[in-house]
Amino acid sequence: MNFGFTEEQGFLREAVRKFVDERCPMAEVRRLMKTRDAHSPELWRALAEQGTLGLLIPDEYGGAGLSWVDFVVVLEETGRTLLPSPLVSTALATMALLEAGSPAQRSRWLPRFADGRAVGTLALLEASDRQGAAGIALAAVRDGEVDVLRGEKRFVADAGAADVFVVAYRVGTALRLALVPKEAPGLRVELVPTLDETRRSGTLVLDGVRVGPEDRLVAADPEATLELLLDCGCVAVTAEGLGAAEGALAVTVRYANDRVQFGSPIGRYQGVKHRLADAWVDTESIKSLLYYAAWTIDERRAELPRYASLAKAYLADAFTRIGVDCVQLHGAVGYTIEYDIQLYLKRSKWLRPMFGDGDYHRDRLAALTLG
């Protein structure tokens, strides 16, 4: 029993922190969020050179073959400074390939994910906005061996930057997952302006897109694969959110030490310091749930669904509170576009619904433990 990080994981954290501080300071975040995809191909290639993009990808496909605990370390650090990038989306597409991709599909995409030539993402949600298999209603029409898709996938993260989409649909009642490249005939991406401009979302319009056997993932149990992807999604966004919550807390602690009112830094007043202390208790508690959840992905997968929900439910509500508190504690300047704290508030709004909000996961936990 050892609930600590290895020395290597400590080095990894330092390296990523140094990278994001040097290559993507807040000025660069603000520049990128005004670009079409909030995605910098140069930054992406630099992340690839660092080995960050191939972290979860096995050696044979050009990656480092590391674990989700390592990946969580990376996401905490990229979340801390709100780094705009399709890191989470591509990791989830990677998981789809590792779980259910054919050798040919893996050989085609994984090396390109690892060296930064391609970006992948999940396209699961539909107009019903229901999480999980219950939300997949898109029905394919069969044309011989080909599934023909007509419909929409909504809230697709990094839709504009993605080169390939993992699309879920049904043939009759059977769930299927497939890889659809962005140049597939009949596929169109409609970008939708986002509240958190460091993130991008879009609608995938499928107008007669043809999915052949070579495009379909070969999951023995597609429902289980889908659930795994969503649970990994919970872990990933919780890690990013934890980093962002810690970032917001650090920015606000600095402000509370600097801002003087009534002859003293406002951080001396209990009305201020107690809120910040509560935020810290929340971030530390989230760490405990998150790190364990990440460990279960590689080591004890039967426990993943419960821990993914425990971690995401805590993060979704706590980061919401922390985001609002941190803006409030800044007073009026917190409400200006100039101060960075508002960007953290908006990130909390992005992460709350991603892969299910607090109530969704509390309901899921209740179903697991209470029946």
Partner: protein
């Protein structure tokens, strides 16, 4: 990161389970003093009371991971607490092990493990609560003795305790932290009077303790004169770390789930009520966070990182949980909550862990100042 236990640790877990199967009655007669004494003797034979204390003083000499496993298994089966003298085991004994003389160790440690002593703790005074370092209870050296004058309050268990772990001021001329000394005083000492205070649930759990020229030998001083603050910081850390353990909260969660399973709200089973279900899930989230945070700190301890302010995390979580669980249990009772009863009384019984060991706002000050680096209040 590795949450697997070694084969030896697994075997230890099996040994505990086997012991419980063979020895623990069902239901557990945990109010029966004769049973509790007999149970303690059995645990002493296994050296499971004071599991991590040095063997030369009667402890088990065990490591922290096995201690964790032992507590987890005992709690899962609702076995009585490990040991009978709660304060003796949780902070007085560890303080004596760290700061005590050979004679003090011989006098107190085995007695604590056997449950022959029963310690209480003399910290708070009528004008001194959260600002503990301002305490005024005075001890003046007179030859080989200290003469004690003053008053303590909120002294839990003083009405039946055998000894008091007592903080006194020995030097009023130096800074408030430096003039404090810790004494180990028998409650039978002439000049000590105990007056129980009825608490809001109608029970006498805490007391006023008056010292009117009580004399105790200098040999009963724990640590050097003027070093009492250092002793008490360690003792408070141990008290908070006891409160921070998740095992009891897991039991409370199981209890409230059982209550929810039989409760009816507005003619419908309470477990069909989304709000009840979500509140139970919220509790599950915090209890599990406490358990895993405890494991993170256990790892730190094993790696030699001194445990510090981190216990404040779980102490605050426990406070939130105690309130939430109390209120939900009363709501689940419906109008029965108007009447007296065990659940109703338990719902008012959170003061020991929420206020004891430092109130929630004191924990927040500690975090903000020592960890976040905000200016001192």
């Amino acid at each position: 990161m590795d949450f697997n236990f070694s084969p030896e640790e697994q075997a230890f877990r099996e040994e505990i389970r086997g012991f419980l199967d063979a020895n623990l009655p069902d239901p557990v007669p945990d109010e029966d003093p004769a049973f509790l004494q007999a149970w303690n003797r059995k645990l002493r034979e296994k050296r499971w009371v004071g599991f991590s204390w040095p063997r030369e003083w009667g402890g088990g000499g065990g490591d922290l991971i096995r201690q964790f496993i032992l507590k987890e298994e005992m709690s899962a089966r609702r076995a009585p607490a490990l040991g009978l003298d709660f304060m003796g085991l949780t902070w007085v004994g560890p303080a004596v092990i760290k700061h005590g003389t050979k004679e003090q160790k011989a006098e107190h440690l085995e007695a604590i493990l056997d449950g022959r002593s029963h310690w209480c703790t003399g910290y708070s005074e009528p004008d001194v609560g959260s600002d503990l370092a301002s305490l005024q209870c005075r001890a003046v050296r007179d030859g080989d003795e200290y003469v004690i004058h003053g008053q303590k309050i909120w002294t839990t268990s003083a009405h039946f305790a055998s000894h008091i772990f007592l903080l006194v001021r020995t030097d009023p001329t130096v800074s408030k932290y430096k003039g404090i000394t810790c004494l180990l005083v028998p409650m039978s000492t002439p000049g000590i009077t105990v007056t129980p205070i009825e608490n809001l649930s109608g029970k006498a759990s805490f007391n006023q303790v008056f010292f009117d020229g009580a004399r105790t030998p200098v040999a009963n001083r724990l640590g050097a004169e003027g070093e009492g603050w250092k002793v008490v910081m360690g003792a408070l850390a141990n008290e908070r770390s006891g409160i921070s353990e998740s095992t009891e909260m897991q039991q409370h969660l199981d209890d409230i789930r059982a209550l929810a399973k039989r409760a009816v709200r507005n003619g419908r089973p309470a477990l069909q009520d989304d709000r009840v279900r979500r509140r139970l899930s919220e509790m599950e989230i915090r209890v599990e966070a406490m358990r895993l945070t405890g494991l993170r700190h256990l790892t730190d301890q094993i790696n030699g990182k001194p445990s510090g302010s981190e216990t404040a995390i779980n102490k605050l979580q426990r406070g939130i949980l105690e309130f939430e669980m109390s209120e939900l249990s009363l709501e689940l009772l419906g109008s029965e909550a108007l009447h007296q009863g065990e659940i109703q009384h338990d719902a008012l019984g959170w003061h020991g862990t929420v206020i004891g060991g430092g109130s929630p706002n004191i924990q927040r000050n500690i975090i903000a100042e020592r960890i976040l680096g905000l200016p001192k209040d």
